[in-house]
């Protein structure tokens, strides 16, 4: 469990996070939704210890984050940054094996787990490709394989799919859903309302927590199946939201015009 208590973070006199309180339960699925500049990426960076909060505390399993040894913390929390493309001509398998840094293990073991992670996502064919030759979508899949190899309790993902074509996009959602189903905690940060419709099938909607973040404040917390969900998201972005059901999944379509 990760608990965020009164976290405040500012830069250059501007408050980016304004005292955020949030609890991320073990094996939960959380979407942090908000407009550009809401402080979503900053929140993730605080959770990773990359940004130290000016005020407030972050506890992971009841222990303050800064007391965690880097290797232990990497076993609790892993991260997929928004711009994670690697431009070096190294083989995919090496990149994924290096995500095993936290395990003090032999190279053979690291390669074994790296290969297993690739195969688990049906990416075995990429093993020997140079990372620098991958397309944006392929790269994102490979990054997910490296998260799998790191094998942390929580996956923090920063806009994991918004720049991908539909094939790779759906691939990403599918991987996240399966990981969550197998007991992984998933935290997905996005401004993309369209993503909400593809995360989980209808029967799982009650278990997905959506956190609306704007100007560094949590403005709402609701499950995906909340009756007033469309209104809340609408007011978050100042647009109208039209819920549409297609094939057992609910989608939220933003419409021009202010929310009522």
């Amino acid at each position: 469990m990760i608990s965020i208590e009164g976290v405040r973070w500012s830069r250059g006199g501007k408050d980016i996070l304004n005292g955020v309180d949030l609890t991320l339960e073990k094996a939960s699925y959380t979407v942090v939704l908000g407009p550009n500049g809401a402080g979503k990426s900053t929140l993730l960076r605080c959770l990773l210890g990359l940004n130290r909060p000016d005020q407030g505390t972050i506890r992971v399993a009841d222990r303050p984050l800064q007391e965690w040894h880097p290797r232990e913390r990497a076993g609790a929390i892993s991260w997929l940054p928004q711009h994670g493309a690697v431009r070096e001509p190294i083989p995919v398998i090496e990149l994924i094996a290096s995500a095993r840094f936290r395990f003090d293990e032999s190279r053979k073991t690291a390669l074994f787990h790296a290969r297993a992670a690739l195969n688990a996502l049906d990416l075995g064919e990429f093993e020997d490709r140079a990372v620098s030759t991958l397309s944006g979508g392929e790269n994102q899949w490979i990054q997910l394989a490296s998260l799998l190899a790191q094998d942390a309790d929580f996956w923090l993902l920063d806009e994991p799919a918004n720049h991908l074509d539909p094939t790779h996009r759906f691939g990403v959602y599918d991987i996240l859903h399966k990981q969550w189903k197998s007991g992984r905690g998933v935290v997905c940060v996005t401004h993309d309302i369209g993503l909400l419709g593809y995360l989980v099938p209808r029967e799982d909607e009650a278990r997905v927590q959506v956190v609306g973040l704007r100007d560094g404040d949590v403005v709402f917390q609701a499950t995906l199946d909340a009756p007033d969900f469309a209104e809340r998201v609408g007011s978050l972005f100042d647009v109208q939201i039209l819920p549409v059901e297609i094939d057992g999944r609910r989608h939220w379509l933003p419409q021009p015009g202010r929310s009522p």
Binding site: R45, L48, R73, S78, G84, P89, I90, A99, R102
Partner: protein, 313 residues
């Protein structure tokens, strides 16, 4: 890949074994003297210095996440040169715990400049290219000071320091190598232990942090130990340019960029490359000894320009 690595190793070994025999034919007692007292120590020095420069070059490129970052471009070499030259000109005979003070001063200069540059890099606000620019600015400032120091020296010291500043492997003999070898060994061993962390840093410093790498620790170790090794090499042989830049690039193009290959291979290639350049410098002008720094720069400068022009991002 394995075949290529074996082939590359064979070429390196051939260069090292062949180098002492290049040049005027060696005969009799005098020939044996030239071979064992002059040429072989020179090859040994070339291996020590070249491997250190090649390895630290590859490490700096990873730490600074920039293919152009090397001990020469971030200012380590210039700092070492300034420190070394200062004592060469003003205190040429002083020793420090048995070591010539020039080595200590070179290390001090290297550490000061490297520390300053990495504190800029660690401030988090500077983009990595700014760090390179700062390094280049400091290098220029250091070489201005170096010229100033030279201008204060007498004729003989000025000539010696100018020649030293070109970078050379000659006349340090086996004694020089004996003092340098342990420093190079420490540098090499410590840097090679950082391979897993450096490999993780290929995916980006923040990403490596999230994967459990203690970035500050890795950075401090690599830059500190790198300054030690480069400082020692500069103290003995002068600032030999471009080895730390070209060698990792050659390895990257031939054997790949995975750090467990890149680092050791840059070390081996670096040694062979410097010995090759020195051998060329020894024979290219008949009965003249061209400083090796001139040869590496003559090969390296155009290559650097080509790399900048070709840089993908």
């Amino acid at each position: 890949m394995t075949l290529r690595a074996v082939l590359a190793m064979a070429i390196c070994v051939a260069i090292l074994c062949g180098a002492p025999f290049v040049g005027p034919p060696l005969e009799g007692e005098q020939g044996a003297f030239i071979l064992w007292q002059l040429r072989v120590p020179r090859v040994v020095m070339g291996v020590l210095v070249g491997s250190t420069l090649g390895l630290t070059g590859a490490v700096y490129q990873t730490i600074f996440a920039n293919p152009l970052a090397t001990p020469s471009t971030v200012g380590t070499t210039a700092g070492a040169a300034l420190g070394a030259l200062f004592v060469l000109v003003f205190f040429p005979t002083v020793t420090f715990i048995g070591m010539p003070i020039v080595a200590v001063a070179a290390f001090g200069g290297a550490l000061a400049v490297t520390g300053f540059i990495s504190s800029i890099a660690a401030s988090g606000r500077a983009r990595i290219n700014d760090v390179l620019l700062a390094g280049i600015a400091i290098s220029l400032a250091a070489s201005a000071l170096t010229t100033g120091v030279q201008s204060q020296a007498g004729m003989g010291a000025t000539f010696a320091s100018v020649r030293w500043a070109l970078g050379h492997l000659a006349q340090v003999g086996l004694q020089g190598a004996q003092i340098l070898a342990p420093i190079v060994a420490i540098t090499t061993i410590v840097l090679l232990t950082q391979i897993p962390a450096l490999q993780a840093m290929v995916a980006g410093e923040d990403r490596a942090h999230a994967q459990g790498v203690n970035i500050r620790r890795v950075r401090t170790i690599c830059l500190g130990v790198g300054a030690l090794g480069v400082g020692a090499c500069v103290a003995w042989c002068g600032p030999i340019a471009f080895v730390g830049l070209i060698v990792p690039h050659i390895v990257r193009l031939t054997l790949g960029a995975a750090r467990r290959v890149l680092l050791p291979a840059s070390m081996v290639f670096g040694g062979a490359f410097l010995v090759l350049c020195d051998t060329i410098g020894r024979v290219i002008v008949p009965s003249q000894d061209l400083p090796v720094g001139v040869v590496t720069a003559a090969i390296g400068a155009p290559l650097l320009v080509a790399l900048i022009v070709k840089r993908p991002d």
